[in-house]
Symmetry: C2
Subunit: 188 residues, 2 copies
């Protein structure tokens, strides 16, 4: 599989729909890196334009990949080593394009259904056929409309049987990785 994921901290929307920049959180780095590493994600881009936030993310990652954490918990070090901090999606897309040798298909995610939706089964098939993908995850109340509109496709909302829809980005990422990259359903 040739899949990168980008966690977007700007531009995202607030609870009332304003475009904002959100703060990097420690658990978003750890949980999504651990899940990404488990399901074969090549690079986990942590995207924020704010210099201090980039430094914070870099320090957290460094603690586990080069610092004391790397000696106490090698699995954690392995997981966090897939993180690359970047200033924006352009940088992630350029990096992924250089790595894969071709521009990846940009697949966004949203808790609300979008016009340019592509189903999980179709997305999974393209990935398993070897097409490189850059998967976009939004923090706060989700990716800004211009990011969704500019993506090559948007995955459907994840819903259970309840109609309730309020997953953390960490939980959504884990489920999306499993649906797109996990063992074939018949195998489990």
């Amino acid at each position: 599989m040739r899949v990168d994921v980008a966690l977007v901290h700007y531009p995202v929307v607030s609870r009332i729909g304003e475009t904002i920049g959100s703060a990097v959180t420690n658990l978003d780095l750890h949980d999504i890196a651990r899940a990404g590493r488990t399901f074969g994600v090549t690079t986990y881009w942590v995207s924020t334009p704010f210099r201090e936030q980039q430094e914070l993310a870099g320090q957290i990652v460094g603690h586990w990949t080069d610092g004391p954490g790397s000696r106490t918990n090698p699995d954690r070090s392995d997981a966090l080593s897939i993180i690359r901090v970047c200033a924006g999606l352009d940088e992630a897309l350029t990096g992924a394009t250089a790595h894969y040798g071709v521009r990846p298909w940009v697949l966004a995610t949203c808790a609300r259904k979008q016009d340019n939706t592509i189903g999980f089964a179709a997305a999974r098939e393209r990935i398993w056929q070897g097409e490189p993908v850059l998967l976009l995850l939004g923090t706060a109340w989700g990716l800004a409309p211009e990011i969704l509109a500019g993506a090559d496709g948007v995955l459907p909302p994840i819903s259970g049987v309840t109609g309730f829809n309020h997953l953390s980005v960490r939980s959504a990422a884990a489920i999306i990785f499993d649906r797109l990259l996990g063992e074939a359903p018949g195998a489990v």
Copy 2:
């Protein structure tokens, strides 16, 4: 569906295999409640024998269900309202039995394959046929051996294609809920 989940803080194992009691964490409450509420979990039992930890968990839940959080974020309030703090698995099992009118099937989870494994497809079928289930999740390095041995069945480890296996309990819970309780695979 008639599914309860219990997050076990004691007895669990440490990195070196000792039986320990772990600390309640804020994000375990939020992420697993949000995912549980999304996928139709009835009650999310937070199990710890430590009185101060029970109080801490109760205060966190109360902030969102009755306190200021309930007014700023009703979705979060709705999610956290499924949490019940308990002193041990006996209490969770008694509570679930009273609620469902029959002792639930106790299904444990582990990142290492166990003798009494039951596959996701078989477990899903039992749940969708209406059998009540109490799903056990371990914190720290997982449920203690006596909990695994005493369960009616244990789900297989979640693995991607990489062989790497170091998911957070929050990510594992989300994936397990989706596999057992989510939309039928063909629908997505």
